[in-house]
Amino acid sequence: MPEPAAPEGAEDRAAEGAADSRLLLRLDGFDGPLDLLLELARGQKVDLARISILALVEQYLAVIEGARRVRLELAAEWLVMAAWLAWLKSRLLLPEDDAAAEEGGQAAEVLAERLAALQQMRAAAAWLGARPELGQEVFARGEPESFVAIDRSRLALDVPGLLRAYLAAVRRAAGRRGYTPAPVTYWTIKDALARLGAMLGELPDWQTLERFLPPAPLSPLERRAAVASTLLAGLELARTGTARLRQDEAFGPILVRKARGVEQSE
């Protein structure tokens, strides 16, 4: 919340004048800008809920300004915070009815809340630290006795382990054997001749050649091989006069039927 800079702020600045020089030399002792801000807020020696954010901002900026004079390599996070606080200061200095001032007031509240939250956790850490800590203030039995006897005579056996072992063994051995591609067998002309010869007699009329392909499901490659073999077998049967072939148009289906006695080729 924006507060008038004077007279309270002025007093604070005066009071912090000495502290600044003390603080600026040991920024390394702080865990980041928020830590320093909290330390400065504590310096105001009032309830955190009632600190003057504006005074705090000015103190921080003074410390950073002083530190920069000494150490040029001041870490980015300190400067980023300084930049943001400079922005906050500009807002807090505006008249209260200004819209931008309200924005600044909200930002100041958020900052105050963050400081309060950090202060809370700082207090929690202090509370924990003040407790008798095992190994620091209080000690447990230095040389515990154990009455536990460990029996390792039994075997841990389970089916998943057995299966994993089996798979590991089989896979390892398989990996060592090297890869042999599964042999591919194509439908040969001989196969096609046998099938065509056997089936042709049972079919009365023209059939497409495709009907004489092997019945098993075929991959495209196998199918092409079978079509070629069957066509060649058909041609062979036609050559010997056992069958007749017909194709009505270019790229049309090839038809086949058994030759009946002496026929003229069409």
Partner: protein
């Protein structure tokens, strides 16, 4: 049965059991050794009464009962008993934040402290067994969530997390923390020893 009526045999047994162990002993563990007519809690209470004010005391912590040296003897014992290093301030604060805000992500811890959480600090807390990862936050990147452990409770002599003061009560008393010792004063002679010196 009142604490004063606990049979000596049961007291001896409880004493031996808790004494022998470096870890807290649960009432259930004691109950397994006692006759059914005796309650472990009653025996523990009688034992605690017997040790009250002695150099070793029976205390209730997470997980059960544990003998511990009396806190007032610490200064004398420290001279003789080996101690692990105290946790540095950053680690203590991180631990407090995890204890109060758990489960909490690293980014959230950093947000509260306004400072980066160093790997060293996280490692120290993990190594001491004071914190554990507890799932992941359903948020972009699914960051790990951190929580405190049973060891945390035991180490600080807490029965459970409800033994921690409420957050509202923490604000009341802003006791000033020891300010870290000033870095090396940049006098002419010492300038070269400053961490960022030259």
């Amino acid at each position: 049965m009142s604490a004063s009526e606990v049979p000596e045999a049961a007291l001896r047994l409880a004493e031996a059991l808790v004494f022998a162990s470096a870890e807290p002993v649960s009432p259930r563990a004691l109950a397994q050794l006692l006759p059914e007519t005796l309650e472990a809690e009653t025996v523990f209470a009688a034992l605690a009464a017997r040790y009250a004010g002695r150099g070793v005391e029976l205390v209730t912590v997470a997980g059960g009962m544990q003998f511990r040296t009396a806190a007032d003897l610490a200064p004398l014992l420290r001279k003789v008993v080996q101690m692990p290093r105290r946790l540095p301030r950053a680690a203590m604060e991180t631990l407090a934040i995890i204890a109060y805000h758990q489960p909490v992500t690293r980014a959230e811890i950093e947000e509260i402290r306004g400072a980066t959480l160093s790997q060293q600090t996280l490692d120290a807390l993990l190594e001491a067994g004071l914190i554990v990862p507890k799932g992941r936050k359903e948020a972009p990147g699914r960051p790990t969530l951190w929580a405190s452990t049973e060891t945390f409770l035991t180490r600080f002599g807490l029965r459970d997390l409800r033994d921690l003061p409420r957050r509202e009560d923490l604000l009341v008393e802003p006791q000033p923390l020891p300010i870290p010792p000033p870095a090396v004063a940049p006098s002419a002679g010492e300038a070269d020893e400053a961490p960022d010196g030259t």
